[in-house]
């Protein structure tokens, strides 16, 4: 951690709303609010920049947003579409670095300290990623470049939308000094009110307080504030994600119906899923079957086994059993999927082996 790191924070601009405007041309250049309907108790998930002009922002009750901007088009979220776009974006990140940490569908940190592309220039990489995102998804991202996560995140917010901003190690401390405390990531409404009441308004005010006092007022977070007010943030970009499930699915060119066809397809998917699990040195205990009927009605059926799931002869019986309470054979099927979950590492297993009354004799 001695040498200076190069961190990029990518933040998609009005992500859900942008996906809607991309997919539905009639929404373009119009105030779009993705989230609950104005007459529901829902809130705004994201709104387009056209809607933001009216003071609408995310997390605001939809009813309130409607009062501010009655001409806005309220759209129900389509998470499948957002997920798809998000995956496409993550694929782009992977072209530049293995070390990226998605924070949500529309936000991620990338550590490009060891990247060789573009002579290792983080700014050029950020530019290239933005361009690739635009090319591949027709969506706009803002990027922040700096030497740690805290500053990179602040930087990505500066020239939004379609922004790109660099905070160099030399600028870091001065930059933080002039920053109002409420702009600090991790300082929310409650904390900033508390800080204001203590006369702390900017990074500079914060920096002038000794560590003991910060810890006295803010407990554990005190040390974090002490560090970030000096532009220090050593949190690594963490791409270690515990894999929770492995899934494969297939959408048919033409719907299938016959029970034996469905079973055959599921067995095929099962093999693929199992080989993925094995590849990762894992074993699974839960099997989930996903069925989407021709009319897009989707159901899942799931079964957790005490023993690990293998390609054993028992699988057809389990699949048959899972299909019991479904309309398989009666309704056309558009998509099938198999997900294996309750994963654990192969090596962590079987330190002790449970003996079985029937098979160990």
């Amino acid at each position: 951690m001695n040498s200076t790191r190069k961190i990029i924070h990518i933040d998609m601009d009005a992500f859900f709303a942008a996906v809607e405007q991309r997919d539905f041309p009639q929404y373009r250049n119009k105030p779009i609010i993705v989230g609950g309907t104005p007459h529901s108790r829902g809130v705004v998930a994201t709104c387009s920049y056209e809607a933001r002009k009216y003071g609408v922002h995310s997390a605001m009750p939809s009813a309130h947003a409607y009062r501010l901007c009655p001409q806005a088009i309220f759209v129900k979220p389509r998470f499948d579409a957002y997920q798809e776009a998000s995956l496409a974006i993550r694929k782009i990140f992977a072209d530049y670095t293995d070390l990226f940490e998605p924070l949500s569908l529309d936000e991620a940190y990338l550590d490009v300290s060891n990247a060789s592309l573009h002579q290792g220039s983080a700014t050029l990489i950020a530019k290239a990623i933005k361009a690739a995102i635009k090319r591949e998804t027709q969506l706009i991202a803002s990027a922040g470049v700096s030497y740690n996560k805290f500053l990179a995140k602040i930087a990505s917010d500066i020239n939004k939308p379609d922004g790109l901003y660099l905070i160099t190690p030399e600028q870091g401390e001065t930059f933080v000094e002039q920053l109002p405390v409420e702009k600090f990531h991790g300082i929310g409404k409650a904390t900033s009110i508390k800080m204001h009441s203590l006369g702390i308004k900017t990074g500079k005010d914060l920096k002038e307080l000794p560590l003991e006092m910060l810890q006295h007022y803010f407990g554990k977070a005190g040390l974090h504030y002490y560090s970030i007010s000096r532009g220090i943030d050593n949190r690594p970009v963490n791409n270690y994600r515990i894999r929770k499930s492995v899934g494969v699915e297939i959408t048919f060119q033409q719907d299938i119906k016959a029970r034996q066809d469905v079973i055959a397809q599921l067995q095929d998917l099962m093999e693929k899923a199992l080989s993925k699990v094995t590849e990762k040195q894992l074993v699974a205990h839960t099997l989930t079957v996903k069925i989407k009927y021709h009319d897009f009605v989707q159901i899942t059926r799931s079964r957790t086994l005490p023993q690990t799931i293998t390609a054993a002869a028992a699988i057809p019986a389990i699949l048959e059993d899972l299909l019991k309470n479904t309309d398989i054979g009666r309704r056309n099927v558009r998509l099938l999927g198999i997900t294996l979950s309750s994963l654990e590492s192969k090596s962590g297993q079987a330190h002790f082996r449970q003996m079985d009354l029937f098979s160990d004799y």
Partner: protein, 366 residues
């Protein structure tokens, strides 16, 4: 169709029926309860096609007819009406009107004609048993049934009748419970059937009156049990129960006597630091002493030592602490007797003296 009933008369039977009805159904009518009025009797039926429960309730004011209504909604309505409320039920066109004091409900319903018939073969075997006795037999065994095992015959309970002897066996392969009792009347037949897990659990819930006399009828495919005003039916698991006799034909170490309460407490404490999934706890047994120890992937360690009554060779064996706890907790005596096979391949747990039941816990091997 029309009747008036007191909430207390319909609530319990309705609850008993609703518990077999699956929440997720592809046939909407299976989420409904079938209600039939014939003479002065109201009959409620619920099924998931594997199990069926019928309740018969005597009723004073009624017009005959039949209908099916959404079971959970109907139950919730009855449940949330005040104690002792008088409930009026009337079918009007395609709606069921429910009224009580100042509450009014109009419930959508489906015609009774479409309610699926529960197919039963002829039930040639009969026996009678006291509900309290049968409930005790179930309590001592059901906890060992497998749940969703691919060896589907283990997801159930073996009921073995041999003239006047009754034997219940349940096992998930890792442990086994066996319970034996005598019937009051000889049956004159020998038979082995497997009751499905869900049926066993539902049945056990219905045996709340230990005084009741049960009439049990069954064939190789179906079982039907008359419990006071209820009729419980289930399809049987179509398989042979695997042979477990070999586990008894072994050499054993001397018996170990342990105070049940001390054993339970020590096991529970040690298990805190056992591997969360496998709960492995090692027993080092020597004359007069039992040392339990465990560790987990985080390298936490725990140890307990208990005074026991044991004379014989020292031995080491490991168990899933939960299996052992389940077994020990189901003992009626204060003293637990552990008998370990001489190749440490199984452990028998029962009471000192004759008790009619036995638990077997299979060890874990390193």
């Amino acid at each position: 169709m029309k009747f008036i009933i007191n909430r207390e008369e319909i609530l319990l039977p309705l609850q008993q029926i609703v518990s077999v009805i699956e929440k997720r159904q592809t046939m909407p009518i299976l989420s409904n309860v079938l209600m039939v009025i014939e003479g002065d009797q109201l009959t409620l039926t619920g099924t998931d096609l594997e199990i069926q429960i019928i309740a018969k309730i005597n009723i004073a004011t009624a017009d005959p007819g039949s209908i099916t209504v959404p079971a959970r909604k109907f139950l919730d309505i009855c449940r949330l009406l005040p104690n002792g409320a008088e409930i009026k039920f009337e079918l009007q066109d395609d709606k069921v009107k429910i009224a009580s004091s100042r509450s009014r409900f109009s419930l959508s319903c489906l015609p009774a004609d479409n309610y699926p018939e529960f197919a039963e073969s002829e039930l040639e075997n009969h026996l009678f048993i006291n509900a309290g006795k049968f409930k005790k037999a179930l309590d001592k065994t059901v906890f060992c049934m497998a749940n969703q095992d691919v060896r589907y015959y283990l997801n159930g309970l073996l009921l073995n009748v041999s003239n006047s002897k009754l034997k219940l066996v349940a096992s998930d392969g890792h442990r086994l419970s066996i319970y034996e009792d005598n019937l009051d009347q000889p049956t004159g037949f020998e038979s082995r059937i497997i009751l499905p897990r869900k049926g066993v659990l539902e049945l056990s819930r219905l045996l709340d009156d230990p005084e009741a006399e049960l009439k049990v009828e069954f064939s190789s495919n179906n079982i039907r049990i008359f419990i006071k005003n209820l009729i419980f039916s289930a399809k049987l698991v179509d398989s042979k129960y695997p042979d477990f006799g070999k586990v008894f034909q072994q050499e054993f170490f001397n018996q170990i006597h342990i105070q049940k309460q001390f054993l339970k407490e020590a096991l529970t404490r040690v298990a805190i630091l056992a591997n969360e999934k496998f709960k492995g706890v090692t027993f080092d047994i020597s004359p007069g002493s039992l040392k339990m120890s465990t560790h987990n992937p985080e390298h936490d360690e725990a140890e307990e030592e208990l005074v026991i009554e044991y004379t014989g060779e020292p031995l080491t064996i490991a168990f899933n602490a939960q299996y052992l706890l389940d077994a020990v907790s189901n003992l009626d005596s204060e003293l637990a007797v552990l008998t370990i096979a001489s190749n440490a391949s199984s452990c028998f747990i029962d009471e000192p003296g004759d008790c009619g039941y036995k638990f077997i816990v299979m060890p874990m091997r390193l």
